[in-house]
Symmetry: C2
Subunit: 598 residues, 2 copies
């Protein structure tokens, strides 16, 4: 099943590897004099060599006898070496980068494998979008292991998106060799309520002997969590409390501890490991969503390992959490996740365990990055026209579109969504607003703003209306087509004119994110690939986002990565209240909710 991800199948080169290890044939490459971070036994082994052939590890120990005239000898000079790091759960789309550019930005940070769930592009373009990701990733040395989007749309019946994935689709697509499992099963109510189609989707994955990955986002660890895990769901990255992560591990579920750009769970959830004397084999570190600025400024898994160490996790334990633990979760420890004979020669060189700077990165025996830069280039990618033209909004949007009429006279109490910066959850708040000329208006003083979600896939002309609290903007408006998971057009604003400008700016540029004020576009990040990604480099995208960040600040928004928090407003599988293009959704009972409170 590993054929897509290694240079040579083990059965094609085992004779060569055995011959190299025994000293009969020289190795292609030998790393000498390294401090091995042994993730199998949780030890550091000094003065270790590694002999490499056919992209795989032939020997670990003393490799003097493996060196021939043509062997490429790399002196590690006492540097630490560790297995290439694995991100057990990520969405490439969150980086706003194409898979190709994403790979270019994370490999120098020591990431050699990812388990990605392309459910964002799948919501826009269906499997045609997933194929774009596969083909793009294949051009790079990154091992891009696909988990098939399981919940497209995320919460059926509550939103309109660009595609529907059925259990039959899953059965068919599980045959692809790139597919190693099912992406996060967000529909935990469907699992708990024994919904036929939901269990058919997980069931088709189990039949294919692949891994069902999870998403259990509520702080509950009793009957509900058990009911969810009982369906064979093997991991979950949604714990925000240490006790939830601990309980998941106790129930045999891999607890994927998240440190993304917008959700900083690690400070809290790392306590599951640091404050309990437990076997940590079921703990994994993952990023979930990382924005380009974070990739450029902080890095990727190297940053997350540093953060774990800061939180008191033993460094070797932290390395296990991005290598062997993750590989075991996916039943791939026979191929990746440790520096041991027969495995793919995915090896990172680290300066020391305090700074955890990645100095060199080897994938399949080739040195691919050094000192933060890629050493190789990738073939060019082209993207089909349908993927670069996905704004299909079925109504002409003007300032009038944003009027919210009411029968109430002076005051009206509305349900508002209060965001929690750096967390995925939100609160439902009931807030009283003024009525002017029969319409409900945004209230800047209370920080309660009009919010609209426009369907953008099939020209249906449907839109949902609500209010949001917590962004603190004082003027203008902001909009985004990155709006989980249907990725409709989301607009938040202080006044109707600017809201219309923000919406139309994105319709014109093919999708993206923007901030406007007083009739001017202050900043715009164009995301023409499915309205989610740009094909430019991480550096360029980081710069664009930084400019947009300034624009957000200009209109008063002071939270970290506001667009990531904003993008979750329509995600009706997270508690408590969300807004989709069909209206407000009470995500604890899964019912539509009225805007006005009786």
């Amino acid at each position: 099943m590993f054929n897509k991800f290694c240079k040579k199948q083990l059965w094609e080169c085992s004779k060569d590897l055995s011959a190299v290890a025994i000293g009969k044939t020289p190795a292609e490459t030998v790393i000498k004099n390294a401090k091995l971070i042994n993730v199998c036994t949780k030890e550091i082994i000094e003065n270790t060599d590694v002999a490499i052939h056919s992209g795989r590890i032939a020997l670990v120990g003393d490799a003097s006898h493996c060196i021939g005239d043509n062997t490429n000898v790399i002196d590690a000079n006492g540097m630490y070496i560790a297995p290439g790091m694995l991100d057990g759960h990520i969405h490439i789309e969150s980086s706003m980068l194409s898979a190709r550019e994403y790979a270019r930005s994370v490999i120098p940070h020591g990431t050699t494998g990812i388990y990605y769930d392309p459910h964002e592009i799948c919501n826009v373009l269906g499997f045609k979008g997933v194929e774009i990701m596969i083909k793009d990733a294949e051009k790079t040395p990154l091992k891009a292991m696909l988990t098939l989007p399981s919940c497209v749309p995320a919460v059926p019946g509550f939103e309109d998106n660009g595609a529907t994935i059925t259990s039959e689709d899953i059965r068919e697509q599980m045959k692809l060799s790139e597919v190693v499992g099912l992406g996060e099963m967000m529909n935990f109510p469907g699992i708990q309520l024994s919904n036929d189609e939901t269990h058919a989707i997980t069931g088709e994955t189990l039949k294919a002997d692949k891994i069902v990955t999870g998403h259990y986002s509520i702080p509950e660890t009793a009957s509900g969590l058990n009911s969810y895990i009982a369906a064979g769901i093997r991991c979950c990255h949604e714990s925000t409390r240490a006790e939830d992560a601990l309980e998941k591990m106790r129930l045999g579920m891999y607890a994927m501890l998240r440190e993304g750009s917008a959700w900083h769970d690690l400070k809290e959830v790392s306590k599951a490991v640091t404050q309990n004397e437990i076997d940590s084999r079921y703990a994994v570190l993952i990023s979930d969503d990382t924005h380009p600025h974070t990739l450029i400024e902080n890095g990727h898994l190297d940053h997350i390992v540093r953060r774990a160490i800061e939180e008191g996790v033993d460094p070797v334990t932290a390395v296990q959490m991005v290598t062997i633990n993750c590989a075991q979760c996916f039943h791939m420890d026979n191929e990746i996740g440790s520096i041991t004979p027969s495995k793919c020669a995915d090896i990172i060189f680290i300066d020391n365990l305090e700074n955890f700077n990645i100095k060199k990165v080897m994938i399949d025996g080739e040195m691919v990055a050094e000192n933060g830069k890629m050493l190789c280039t990738f073939p060019e990618s082209t993207y089909p026209e349908y993927s670069m033209n996905t704004m299909h909004v079925g109504e002409k949007i003007t300032a009038d579109t944003f009027k919210i009429k009411t029968d109430k006279k002076d005051k009206v109490t509305v349900r508002a969504i209060e965001i929690i910066p750096a967390r995925v959850g939100d609160y439902e708040r009931h807030i009283t607003l003024d009525v002017k000329n029969g319409c409900i208006e945004s209230d800047i003083k209370q920080d309660v703003l009009k919010t609209f979600v426009f369907e953008r896939h099939n020209n249906t002309g449907k839109h949902g209306v609500g209010f949001v609290k917590g962004f603190n903007i004082k003027c203008g408006a902001m909009a985004s087509t990155v709006a989980h998971d249907a990725h409709n057009l989301l607009v938040i604003g202080t006044n109707d004119q600017d809201m219309a400008l923000a919406a139309n700016t994105l319709i014109e540029c093919g999708g993206g994110m923007c901030a406007v004020c007083d009739g001017k576009v202050l900043g715009c990040v164009e995301l023409p690939l499915a309205g989610l990604m740009n094909t430019k480099s991480a550096e360029e995208m980081s710069q664009k986002v930084e400019n947009l960040d300034k624009a957000w600040k200009k209109i008063g928004c002071d939270i970290v990565s506001p667009f990531m928090t904003m993008a979750l407003i329509p995600l009706a599988c997270l508690p408590e209240l969300r807004l989709t293009n069909r209206g407000l959704v009470d995500c604890t009972t899964f019912n539509f909710a009225d805007l006005e409170v009786e």
Copy 2:
């Protein structure tokens, strides 16, 4: 791939399990008030309930809400519960019991799953013999997971046996759903020397995405061991030194620490875990070969866990070594090896962690044993005629057959095999013997005895001649058709008449083991099923072996389980000197050796 081993596929019952856990449907069975040995986190969790449905675990925690009118409630009364124990490497044939009777004897000791390599019967009957084992095991609740014999014959060219298994056979048989991997790859020279056929056998296993199990019996951990592991060999049960077991784990190989009836490795190899501060996830406890008396007197994995605890292994760590660690080795931790939702409800009840007595055993949600006794019966087995009639010795054996002629006059120096009681290795010794009437004779004073191996599969009439030291018998002779791995007819004796009697006794009864003296049969264990097993119960077989043990003692043999040590005399893949039906084999250079030393 698990369909043969569970009551219901997870995808067939996940809806039911989720419904039970959430409290919508009552559980079939609830275990209340247990102390859970949590092998995932290495903790003991007090006051734990387990809800069970469709043979699987639905919930772990508080199961009050899962109890309905028809729920079978089992009060654990504060007893410990642990996952059913798994033996990662065993040969059923060593117990002399049929698979059916083996299951009956080990289940009450808490064994719920075995990874068995039926290479003994395969050497006699080929895959027809393996099929007998599969069909027999299927009649029992024991999860009998098959690893296909990889080395039949064990050391090609050095012995004659009843079948030859090729890589094409392996490719074909890997399709069987009972097969989870390849049995111990004993031909480590073939791996190290990049032999095509040897690598094809491991390669076909890798292609089938199944597990290659190992056998690396020499005390070497550098280029040779690396060369062996580089071929994708995942585990090895042959360490006899702690440093070998440790190094295997460091190289990502599961170190299966053995405590069999005849080889007591644990005292030494457990130090790998107790004297090093390492992550022990790569350590597994296994039995390899257990004789019926041990099963009756000491037990099976319960005994081995007790032994590990005696040697200073933390009890919960020891339980991990027979549950989750083993399941992870075989990539089956999604189905067995922990008490967590979705897994097969294979659960053992233990009185306390000091005595580790198994009080109850549940498999697939059914209580199958209690207080050391099976609660259920198995359907009867019948065995085909060809499997009950396997003594095909192509020569008439008389006292004259055992004359060993020499050209030397008074004295001759011979190569003798010196056994090491309770270990699998032996030594080559050069010993000077008297010559009488042109023949070399056994020397009771020096404890050096004539040893013959007769081919018994194809009437070839070939036999090999040597001497053995260490059994200490003073009169008579002993014989066995359990003689690894070709299972030819092995005879050791002090005089030619008794040797002939011993040989003919076994030929007449269809194979087995016997001890004779002065023309009388003192004891005989008949093994008519392939000359390896009897279809009687463990109790009866234990009694028979005990009687034979007395007979051995009567002729002077004082070592523990002499027949198991004896049975290794022909096994030419173990160091240093062995005797097959083709002659003496130097097992360090893999050459035939002359009986007489120049």
